[in-house]
Subunit: 328 residues, 4 copies
């Protein structure tokens, strides 16, 4: 069955390029023209780079051309500080690979999302933990600035809290403060339960309309902002419809030994599948998100790691042990 | 298929008596001996009373003999204060039906759950909103006490935060302060997504081991506490396994027109079903809970309603409009 | 002794025009040219309007020409919702007196201050309680907009949190969203302990550099923003130096019966007074602020009242009882 | 003038033994019989031990016989993690000096105070940061317990929140869980502004009625609890009356060159002084507390240091670098 179509019709979006690609490849049964994928492993961490390289790839993936790096790091769930530091180092290195900055270039860190909704509060939490230094460059003597790039940070809130499009707020600040780069952090949805709060996606294409837990309305991209935008996304939710759908898929896989059943399965239309799922989930189907019981703690852990990785990537003059202090 | 068995083997508990009963009745196909059910409707609110009346009923339901009143109130989700007040009035009236108190009897309100985990924080939030008066009876002149029953309130935390069994903390306080009744508020799990933060279960049987979002280890009941315990439970989560299972059930209902398929479905063992579900949910299957994106806001709304209903039921001397003030 | 000079040399600022005027008038012993003062009382509330009307008045007061309305409302401290509503109505009426708006003019509410520092968090708290409607005008059908003016709201944080001048952030948003008016809320300092969290100052001159608990660096005024700025300020702190100084003043008043002592007092130079005060307060003298033990609760009460008053003033279509609902 | 008498009549309590002693010694002009004082310095930290050794000493000091160790550590105010760790090590060593515990003795950590009032929230914050292990001893395999003493922790709230005397709650828990020692953390008042959030007092005499920011009503001592109680107190507030009084004292010291003035000063009765101070502070004089603008941040810093010191003192099996991890 065409899952991509089912998901689209149910308003379910695959925020992670790696998931969109895997689903597509499985449906098509062959490589996707215009998309290349590279995978590396290191300790318990897998790093997958999806490169969307042509209009054909963009069309197939539903994502603009660019680099999408996913760090799958299951040890984030362990309460082990050493492992968290290691993951932050990996994140810093991958982030550096996407950056092209002069030593004094100003970077604006943007924490997207609603601080009053736990699964959407990751961006604001990262901003809370971010080492802000731009004002030191303006007001403090030079010797205090050593190795610290000018970094500013803002959590613009969401439309329902401010009455203003998030992108308008950011654009206004960009025009006033002229950063050379935006790093935008956002909570994402995933179709794989085990990725919640353990995967980190970096993308040099920015934030696109409709993505994220809060369904950001307008894009935050180089074309809207006038400066490059690196998106750092962490899945924090899974749609209930995905769970329901995957249960149905698993059942049919069980039945694949029977040609009759398999044929039956192949014949189910996305519309019928959607009807079944909505029957289960009720009228609020589209709003239902699933999250581990420990989401508050996971958000804290992940936000510290992301803030640490960003600090290390942006401030060349401070060591891993030094920035670890900022994470307290 | 025997869902009760499947749920048990997956560690999924039906905290709401009305759900346990509905499932059972559906499997058995007839009334459950030792259990009686009454249903009333009022405006948009449905009130279902499940009376477990014999050891046979206890065995079938997996719940001790007593009264379980479920108030299904979908308008809780609406941001309409008038409707919230109406629901609190209904809650107060149903709560009064379970109480038997002299005018100056001391009541201890207990907010179970972990204040650091949003879906488990409902009990502590209700305690935050509770009108506490016991100290006024001890220290203030009598004219200030008019119509206010002595009420104390505590959020004992959870084992992981305190290192102490919650029931030990409460028992210690009960022995010191000698309340005549405990009202214990807890977050529950449900098998019906639409009940999350819209249903309220009152039970005169107390809190039983293994129930609730936090899987309370030990019971808080008349037999452990020495005084009656009214449990006020609100579903805040649904197990992912329930979603997955219901999707499978819905599929088979679709297929019931075909005798072959129906026979096939009837033949699936709970073990096979469990295997399919665990395949979908991964190794953390048992910890996965599902919650609407707006859980933080829903917890706030519901906690205010519950605190308001309790205040009105316990303090005969204050009117609905007066206690509404305490809810701010 | 010249208190104004002493305060200036100690870095103590009188944020309330009514206090700056009273001190000045006492020192000068006569009316201040270019400044007029009007006082009204209503129930337990005193409303004082200070009009700074000429460059001479500006110079004397150290404040730009304009209207400064102080509402002294001691009942804010009482936990009485009816009185809080009355004060919000008075605030709404006084605010309306300073506004000149067409029915669909967009208003931007700005909550100044640091949400991580309780006495400086008043502005952000008011924004939390603000009824935001601008997006409804853009996205909702007209019938849902009835009587609701387009209002947006933002808490821009402080320089230390964002690395960006607060005024830059606001200016950026103003340019993007083109409001017709800014209402800026800020926590102030006072020289009168009893005014903490019970007085509200409205000023049609905006926020000036150096004012407020957080010592805002740059102004938020019509000349910097391009649109009128109404400042709503609430005193939340008193400088320790003011307490110390007032104790010395009170002592000398006690001694005024003795001509010798009085002469002695008149002879004390501000420098000597400052030395004594710094001796008491230690090296951190300038940072020491004083606040009632209940500041967290007072901030909550006052923020609700201010948000309520603003809502009523801005949204003509909703009644007092209706907006009271938004304050929950 | 007799300051002790003045303070008493104004309801100002000297929670720190070192302050009570210094004031007394200054008034009396000689050593206090039954009280011995030892002072050590180390880096930037001063450790003063006040030993109250006889009924005569108790009477003079207004404090029960026992050991009061004050660690004055101004570097707490610096945002320097290394220095914070050093202070935690000093705290751990001094705490160990007051303990007498077998390796598996259960310790109950109690965080006194009101979590809704920033300056009184220090105790609950320390409990938040406390490494709780008692349940591991009960439920986990022995190899996971290595070097970890059984520690439980509770924040019992305050009378106004619970309606129950704090001491009743603790006593109930003590009877149920049988700890061998209580460590009770409380926020204190000081008469020296520079001690706020930089001094730590350890006392083997427990918590006494009337002490602390929240004016605890009943004592938490060996005689009420049945087990030894170590009090860990941190000053977070100074009474406004103390500031006012010290300003008057400083003025008179300035005037000491004049015999006439000095005589005058010596002749002022505490009643007159109190009248002057109340004139300055207004009707709420007794409730006025003074706190640095950065109290929220100071509470966080200090709570981490105290929790770290307690962890290191109680758990012999974990190193300084290991427990540092728990402080994140």
């Amino acid at each position: 069955m065409n899952c991509s179509k089912l998901y689209r019709s149910m308003g379910i979006r695959l925020d992670l390029a790696v998931e969109a690609h895997d689903l597509l490849r499985q449906e098509v049964g062959s490589d996707i023209p215009g998309v290349r994928v590279f995978k590396r492993e290191q300790d318990q961490v897998t790093i997958t780079t999806v490169k969307v390289e042509s209009p054909q790839g963009e069309q197939a993936m539903g994502k603009p051309a660019g680099n999408y790096v996913t760090i799958d790091a299951p040890p984030i769930r362990e309460n082990n500080r050493e492992k968290h530091l290691q993951i932050a180092v990996i994140l810093a290195r991958e982030l550096e690979g996407l950056l092209s900055l002069g030593p004094d270039d100003h970077v604006l860190v943007v924490g997207l999302g609603n601080w009053h909704a736990t699964p959407d509060a990751l961006g604001p939490k990262v901003v809370d933990f971010t080492l802000v230094t731009r004002h030191l460059h303006q007001y403090a003597p030079e010797e205090l600035q050593g190795g610290l790039r000018p970094v500013s940070a803002i959590s613009p809130g969401v439309l329902g809290l401010t009455g203003i499009e998030t992108s308008e707020i950011i654009k206004g600040i960009v025009e006033k403060t002229q950063p050379r780069l935006i790093v935008a952090i956002d909570a994402l949805s995933t179709s794989a339960v085990e990725r919640i709060a353990t995967s980190i996606q970096l993308a040099d294409t920015g934030i696109h309309p409709g993505s994220g837990v809060g369904n950001r309305r307008a894009g935050i991209t180089q074309s809207t902002m006038g400066v490059p935008v690196i998106a750092v996304g962490i899945p924090t939710v899974v749609h209930a419809g995905v769970i329901a759908h995957q249960a149905l898929e698993a059942l049919f896989r069980e039945f694949q030994t029977s040609p009759t059943l398999y044929k039956l399965y192949k014949g189910i239309q996305p519309e019928a599948m959607q009807k079944i799922i909505q029957q289960v989930l009720g009228p609020h189907a589209q709003d239902l998100i699933m999250t581990p019981k420990e989401i508050d703690q996971l958000i804290l852990n992940t936000a510290r790691i992301v803030a640490g990785g960003i600090a290390q990537a942006l401030h060349p003059g401070i060591s891993a042990s030094e920035w670890a202090q900022y994470l307290q």
